[in-house]
Amino acid sequence: MKVLTLNFLTCAVKACKSSSDSFPLHPKDCELVSDELEVNSALLTNVLTRVDWKALTTTAAELGFPTLPATPPTPEELAGDEKMLKELHTLLMETQINEGKLVCGHCGHEYAVKEGIANFLLPNHLV
């Protein structure tokens, strides 16, 4: 599961969705792998305008990556900075959570990630 994906996921429990504590989910005991992927600069540049940068900063820090800049690069900055584009590509698109858990900061429920696939099916008592 890509680091980018985490920016678009929250807890599946309905009561958690209105709480700001449920986003982003917190990675726990995660094994990371890197999957090589071709850079698509149009995709990355435009996706970045939709990314919650604060949440991404939290996720990156929790996964042990170097601190991200305080604000996201603008499309213009990105167009002139191939190194930054490549670094963001590596973090968002190539870095994968292969095994581990994603924890809701509101209810504490842990979603398992196995072989790169996160499972959000809820146990009966949480439905």
């Binding site: 678009f8 698509n40 435009n46 996706v47």
Partner: protein, 233 residues
């Protein structure tokens, strides 16, 4: 309604939809690779960098249509999600359509192709539409596809007046290698479907608090593009 008095709809669907897909995943996937024209057109019309959902993505065949957008596909069947997750640059997760793990009002688009007809009560079908609409931004659009009751020219031959809730057989051919008897054989599975009448999908969308942008019929299916109803200020 096909669900019986004694069984809760979610249990019924577990047995007659989810378990079947889990078992037929690989065979099902090998037969599902051609994108339907309306869906392809919708996916290709998206702005690069758009972020959206494919709710009930199955083997992810629509994740292959546009590589300049980012799609998170979800499905109940982990065997199908495994196949779907191979479509780059997208993502696929195991999730229930009625408990999606996504933020409200955050997505540019959503598709749900041949999915909500597997829910066994009108309330749950409307709830599914509402769950999809809830994820959309104000200007976001969702394309929903369901199997039509009116399909008299199809191999199944159903039409107005046919039963709307039924079990549809899936015949899986089992080769010599995988057969316990060592002989090629076949096994039949039955999946629950609710076949949609003309206008019914639009009614579900209205009941879910959405509005229809465009709708139509394409080869045995009803489809609708919808968005969240804008609250007039």
């Amino acid at each position: 309604m096909a669900s019986t008095e004694e069984i809760a709809p979610e249990k019924y669907e577990e047995q007659h939809v989810h378990e079947v897909y889990e078992q037929i995943a690989s065979h099902f996937s090998s037969t599902r690779y051609k994108a339907w024209p309306i869906v392809k057109q919708f996916m290709q019309s998206l702005t690069p960098g758009s972020v959206g959902l494919d709710v009930g993505c199955g083997n992810g065949k629509y994740l292959a249509v546009n590589h300049d957008v980012f799609i998170i596909g979800s499905d109940r069947s982990s065997n199908l999600v495994k196949i779907a997750s191979q479509h780059q640059p997208h993502a696929a997760i195991v999730a229930d359509t009625l408990a999606l793990p996504h933020q409200a009002a955050s997505f540019d688009f959503a598709i749900s192709i041949a999915v909500i007809h597997h829910l066994s009560t009108p309330e749950r079908r409307t709830e599914a539409v509402a769950a999809i609409l809830e994820c959309l931004k104000d200007e976001g659009k969702a394309l929903i596809y369901v199997w039509a009751l009116e399909q008299k020219d199809s191999r199944r031959g159903w039409d107005e007046g046919s039963e709307q809730d039924l079990m549809v057989p899936w015949v899986m051919k089992i080769g010599k290698k995988n057969s316990p008897s060592g002989e090629a054989t076949e096994k039949t599975f039955h999946r629950y479907y609710h076949l949609y009448r003309s206008g019914e999908l639009e009614s579900n969308i209205a009941a879910a608090g959405g509005e229809v942008v465009e709708s139509g019929y394409e080869k045995d299916n009803w489809w609708a593009i919808c968005k969240r109803k804008q609250i007039e200020s």
